[in-house]
Every structure is written in C-alpha cells, then in structure tokens.
C-alpha cells in the first residue's frame, strides 16, 4: 500500500490537500478562511487531474520541428481541463469575496454562525 502511494506521489498529495481544504471549509468559521479552503480544494482537484496526464520522459504537447509522434508528448486532455478549471475557481472566488464584503457591510462580522444568528434576530424584531 505504501509503495503504491509513493509511486503515485502527486495524486497522494492532491488527495491529502483535498481533505485539508475540505476540513478547513468545515472547521473555520471566518468566511475568508472558508474561501481559501475552497480554493485549496479545487487546486488539489486540478493537481489530481493534471497528474493523470503526465508521462515520464515526454515533453509538453507543443509540436517541435514537425515531430508528431505520440511517444514524444504527454497527454494534452488534462491540461485543457485544468485550464478551464482554474478560471472557474477564479470566478467563484470573486463571487464569494463580493458576498463577504456585502455581509461584512451589513452585519459587521465575518463569522458565518454569528451572521446567521443576527439575521434570525432581525427577522423577529
């Protein structure tokens, strides 16, 4: 088991980072730390996806001096998917940060449980 984990070192680290990001998201009460946890989770998923495509001793998939033999390049698909993924993670970070600014402006705190309690309190008043 440990030898297999050491062979797939990138995927092991990616999965550990995914778990850390997941735990930060659940554990931390500060909204900005939750967003960092979300970002760590998604970059870990992209590391996991990109490590599927790497093949030892092959170059980046850019055709150099006309060589189009399959054995010369690594798998281009994960690179394309992760490119899409990175832009998705910027988009949702932008939205979550905008929500954080609006919530802080409205409730003067970044602690999501405190905010929920204040919102419920206002509902009563």
């Amino acid at each position: 088991m440990w030898q297999a984990l050491y062979d797939n070192l990138e995927q092991t680290v990616a999965v550990i980072l995914f778990g850390i990001g997941f735990t930060i998201l659940l554990l931390q009460r500060n909204l900005i730390r939750k967003i960092i946890g979300l970002n760590i989770m998604s970059t870990a998923t992209y590391l996991f996806l990109a490590s599927m495509g790497y093949i030892e001793g092959r170059k980046a998939p850019i055709v150099t001096d006309g060589v189009t033999d399959l054995a010369a390049y690594i798998n281009p698909i994960p690179a394309g998917l992760v490119l899409t993924g990175i832009v998705v993670s910027v988009s949702f970070t932008g939205i979550m940060l905008a929500l954080t600014v609006r919530l802080y402006r409205r409730y003067r705190t970044l602690d999501i449980d405190q905010i929920a309690l204040l919102a419920k309190g206002e509902d009563m008043a």
């Binding site: 984990l5 850390i20 997941f22 030892e56 798998n75 910027v90 009563m124």
Partner: protein
C-alpha cells in the same frame, strides 16, 4: 360535566381539531394560558416587556411576542456554555469527516493506475488522434490550444460564459447604481465604498514603476494572447496578464485616468462583441460539422501567426472576456463601479 369537558379540551384530538380549524392561533392560546399562570419571573427588562404583551392584546401580537421570547432564549443559549460544547463537538465531527474522506481517497489512489507510466488507460486512441493528427486538423502547434478551441470548443464556450456570469453576479452584488443624472442612488454607501481618499496621492515610487512596468506587462500579455496557438499561453493566461497590467495602471494613476479608456459601457460592449463573436463563429463550425458540410476556414501554414483557422481570433475573444472580467472584479471591489 365541566371537568370531563375541560380534560377533553386538553386531549390531543381536540387540540388537533382546533388546530385544523383555527390554525396556530388556537395552539398559541393553549401555550399562552399555560405560560401566563406560574410564569417564572425573567430578570431583565426585555423579557418582562415581551411577557406583558403576551397576556394582553390581539393574537398576532401575541404570536410575534412568542417568537421573540423563543429567539431571546436562543440568543441566551447562544453565548452560554452549551454552545461552546456544541461548537467543539462540531469541530471534532468535521475533523473526523475530513480524515475519513482522506482515508477513503488515499485507499483509492493506491489502486489508481501508476503515475507517469505509458500504459495507463488514459493513453488511448483519443489522445493518439489529438497528438498525431492535431497539427493537420486544427493547424495549431500548441496541441492543448488546438484541443480546447477546436476539438472540444463547446467546453471553452461554456468557460467564457462562466466568466461572463461571474462578472454579472459581482455587478449585481457590488455595483452602486447611478440614477438618471449620474448621482449614485445609495449616497452613503457610495461615499463609504469609494476609497479614493485611501488611494496613494501621486506616490512617486508606484507611479514611476508603473510608468515603466505597465507597457511591458501589456506587451507581454498581448504576445501571450496572440501566440496561443504557437506556444504555451492563449486566451486565459493572456487575458489574465492584460488585466494585471490594467490593474497596476489603475492602482498607480487612480480611477480618473483609468476611466478615460475603460468605462462600464466599454466593458459591456467588449464582452458583448467577444462573446457574441465566439458564439456565432463556433455555432457556424458546429452546424457545419454536425451536418457534414465542410466549413471553408483556411488552416494556413503551421507556425505562421495567421495560421490554424479560427483559433487565433477565438483566443483573442476569450482573452478580452477574461481581461474585462478580472478588471471589473477589481474595480467593483475598489469603488463599486467603473
């Protein structure tokens, strides 16, 4: 007789029937009568005031008062010891869930195909065609750019739409609307979030370095954008570099100077034209491909700047959408508008 009648009142069927007939009001009467008898005296004033309303006036005020009492208890409980214990329990549970997740996923990674070996299932006929025939079918030297903008172009169309949706969502959240004659609608928020008084007033070092760096960054961004199909780079990274150059310029020279060439109207029209061009160009090539017609887009000689059919214009369109979105994110956070 009345004894039997009164305990009939208490029995659940009666209360259920009365609830069906009168709704919550009836149930509240039950609760209020039981509360108003030996109610434990609440020390502080707010509870007393809630209590007085309870006994007195119309039913819907009583209902509100009841909720306020319930919320008062919740508030009370919130900062007592009870919550800390529950908080710690929640933390332990979250940690446990994270560890279980890591354990299961590590277990899976052990059985995944070996890293960096050539005989993984992912090394199949799909990428054989991308790599071997990629150059002649899409004309792009950079096979990843060819794959993104020609083989799987629908994903990247969805991708630019994700950026456009994110920009609109942040616009909904942070933009301070201007009424007809240009004055911000919410006066107080506008002054508060307009942090030009925090801006460095002609900070010599920042402006000096921006004067040198901005043209270089923008030039590099344009280079990366235009050579998307020839080398690493392309729409996303080129657009991001362009927007970081614009943000540096905005930081150094303030909104007045930056507003000269980049206003909200320009943002909307640039997004409209680039996304519209991308949609129409790709719709044309999807329609042609789906019905087996040959779309007469020349692929040009590989390696030349004007090669690989639509990939270069599409890269520019995607790059513009990325640059505009990142720039308006920054401007909306800084000043709630352009």
């Amino acid at each position: 007789m009345s004894k039997r009648r009164s305990d009939w009142e208490q029995r659940p069927q009666a209360r259920f029937l009365r609830w069906m007939r009168d709704g919550y009001g009836a149930l509240d009467d039950q609760i209020t009568t039981s509360i108003s008898q030996p109610a434990a005296p609440r020390p502080d004033q707010e509870a007393m005031e809630a209590h007085d309303i309870l006994v007195g006036t119309h039913r819907h005020e009583r209902e509100l008062a009841l909720d306020r009492l319930a919320h008062y208890d919740l508030q009370n409980w919130a900062n007592t010891r009870g919550r800390k214990v529950l908080g710690r329990l929640y933390a332990v549970l979250a940690l446990l869930l994270g560890l279980i997740l890591i354990y299961f996923l590590l277990n899976t990674v052990a059985f995944m195909p070996r890293f960096a070996s050539a005989d993984v299932p992912a090394n199949n006929e799909v990428i054989a065609r991308y790599v071997e025939k990629g150059l002649e079918e899409t004309g792009a030297i950079n096979i990843v750019a060819g794959m993104i903008l020609d083989y799987r172009a629908f994903d990247t169309l969805g991708e630019s739409t994700v950026l456009f949706v994110a920009a609109c969502a942040v616009l909904i959240l942070l933009r301070i609307d201007l009424d007809d004659h240009g004055q911000p609608m919410q006066q107080l928020i506008a002054e508060e979030s307009d942090d030009r008084h925090y801006e460095p007033k002609n900070d010599r070092i920042l402006q000096g370095s921006a004067m040198v760096l901005t043209p270089i960054i923008l030039l590099f961004g344009i280079y990366v954008l235009f050579n998307g199909h020839l080398g690493p780079g392309g729409g996303f990274s080129g657009g991001a570099i362009l927007s970081s150059g614009l943000i540096l310029y905005l930081n150094a020279f303030g909104f007045q100077k930056a507003g000269r060439f980049f206003t909200y109207k320009i943002f909307m029209w640039v997004s409209f034209f680039s996304l519209g061009f991308y949609g129409v160009a790709k719709a044309y090539s999807f329609y042609m491909g789906a019905n087996g017609l040959h779309s007469g887009i020349p692929l040009g000689t590989p390696g030349a700047i004007l090669s690989s059919g639509l990939i270069m214009p599409l890269n520019i369109a995607v790059g513009l959408v990325v640059a505009c979105t990142m720039y308006i994110f920054y401007a909306l956070f800084r000043k709630g508008g352009l």
